[in-house]
């Protein structure tokens, strides 16, 4: 029995003429949070989009639950149990919060309704805006809605792209709490530039630079290694 849920093996991705991912390889285990770290333009978001099928991998393999998925369409990948929270949150702003959740629910059985109630217990703010258009929500509320939408289905793997971008510290703490709850029943692959957030939720990490993985290990080790933080993430204390 393998302990790998997702294996990304030497993927190359182009955006137009630009060769963004140049052989990225990493694994996400069957539990916990794996964090992709790196500077702007390192290829972190492109990696998530490639896994999700939104960008085609020209070369390499992506294996999820033992099956190759690099040639599949985004809707097929989503229905295999991979949830995605994009960097821009991808809220349907003209729909209400309720409609956003309903669209996200691929099933409408009792189990799905139970999950919806659980999600609303986790993100209580959403209840207050249940009938309002999602476009009027604040940045933090939109982020909560985006995550709520991704976890309302039975997901085995959740891809989250920079959830803390532009958010106030108090909202970030709420997100940390939410992700720590989510990781109890779903594997999370998190792209994050905010090292505080990454260190609070991450179990494993991979550092990307210029479209390649340059370092990886246990998050605890990175937290304790100031030199490594300074070299790859530009963090000085």
């Amino acid at each position: 029995m393998t302990d790998t849920l997702l294996k990304v093996d030497g993927i190359h991705t182009f955006i137009g003429q630009h060769h963004i991912l140049q052989g990225v390889s990493f694994e996400a285990k069957t539990e916990g949070v794996t964090v992709l770290l790196g500077r702007n333009g390192a290829g972190k978001s492109t990696t998530l989009k490639t896994i999700m099928g939104l960008l085609p991998a020209k070369q390499g393999k992506i294996v999820y639950k033992g099956k190759p998925i690099q040639a599949k369409k985004p809707h097929q990948i989503a229905r295999m149990g991979i949830g995605f929270v994009p960097e821009n949150m991808g809220i349907f702003s003209e729909l209400t919060v309720e409609e956003n959740m309903q669209v996200a629910m691929l099933k409408d059985d009792i189990a799905a309704q139970k999950r919806l109630e659980d999600v609303l217990q986790m993100f209580t703010t959403l209840k207050d805006f249940w009938g309002a258009k999602a476009g009027i929500l604040s940045g933090g509320q939109k982020q909560m809605l985006a995550i709520a939408r991704a976890i309302v289905n039975e997901t085995s793997l959740l891809l989250i792209d920079e959830p803390t971008k532009g958010l106030a510290p108090i909202i970030i703490d709420a997100l940390i709490e939410a992700i720590n709850q989510i990781k109890q029943h779903s594997v999370v692959l998190l792209v994050e530039q905010n090292f505080y957030m990454a260190s609070q939720v991450g179990d494993d990490f991979y550092i990307l630079d210029d479209g390649m993985v340059v370092h990886n290990g246990r998050m605890q080790d990175l937290v304790e290694d100031d030199e490594l933080q300074s070299r790859y993430l530009g963090i000085t204390k």
């Binding site: 809707h75 991808g90 309903q102 669209v103 805006f129 009938g131 309002a132």
Partner: protein, 362 residues
Amino acid sequence: MVEQTPVQVFRSQEKMGRFTSPAFYLKIAILAAFIITPFLFPSFKSLDLVLKIMIFAVLVASFDILLGYTGILSFGHVMFFGIGAYSVALLLGKFGEPTYAFLFLGFVIAILVTTALALLISFLSLRVKAIFFAMVTLAIAEFAIILATKLSSFTGGEDGIIMSTPGIFKVSFNMGSFMGVDITGRVITYYFILVICLILFMLMARFIQSPLGRVMQAIRDNEPRAEALGYKTFVFKATSICFGCLVSTIVGGLYVMWVGYANPESVLGVPIMLDVLLMVIIGGMGTLYGALAGAAFLRLAYTFLPDLQSLAQDLLPNLHFVHTMMERWLLIFGILFILVVFFFPKGIIGTIQNYLKTRKAV
């Protein structure tokens, strides 16, 4: 007693409010106005105006399903209206005495042809995006106009086809008098079209409120995101195109039942497409009921603005400048259109809905 969850509480509140909201009573009032029109204003001009508002409201709403709810701009929408009109006109006008069977067959053929063409157009949407799709559909619509004009032995060319309706729909039919109004074929046709339009409108309202309709709106807002949520967006877009086009073709058949003729200018022309676009902008994209507001605005303007000159001559006989201004009624229409766009940036119904929703949320 089992405590209700937050979602259940919201849904039961929403259900309770559905039949007590002012919007519900407004809809009932509008329907009542349509029903009593033949009794209050039995003249042909009044019936013609109200019926055309109704027909165009359904046509515009079907276009709104594509543009406002799915984000697909198709300039070929009126072509389907024309297919419905020509199909019914051909069957009733070219094969001897009109019968109910021909009338029914006319609608069936229109629906079959429309389904095939709408599917073809849906596949085009896979290949070309946004503005290119609009241009391709415009080219197809132009091609349909050329076909209708050139195939004169079949379509009657530029003169079109003149037809009459069968049985109780015949203009000469008279059932007798009811509450002082002659129940003629015209009145029966009016109510027949009203019932079908009402059914089509309710179907569209149900369609957009269904899970399918919600996914279409999600595609309109953010297609890649909808796909990443697990939806094969092409299937939903094709469903939307086919549904909208089918409604358009049925309403085209109804239109020709009322006016009694079909020619390229009256049922296929680009000006009709422009009218539909204006109506959807004035009423509000993605509002459905905005179609009624837009259709009413435009039809009322087209009917009454040309009469302003004679009104001005009667009321202000010495002000020649005003008479000249009123003669150019399209200028007044342009000003009215600018005012509507200025004060209702999301269309009449769209702006009102937006205001009410924001106020409620706050």
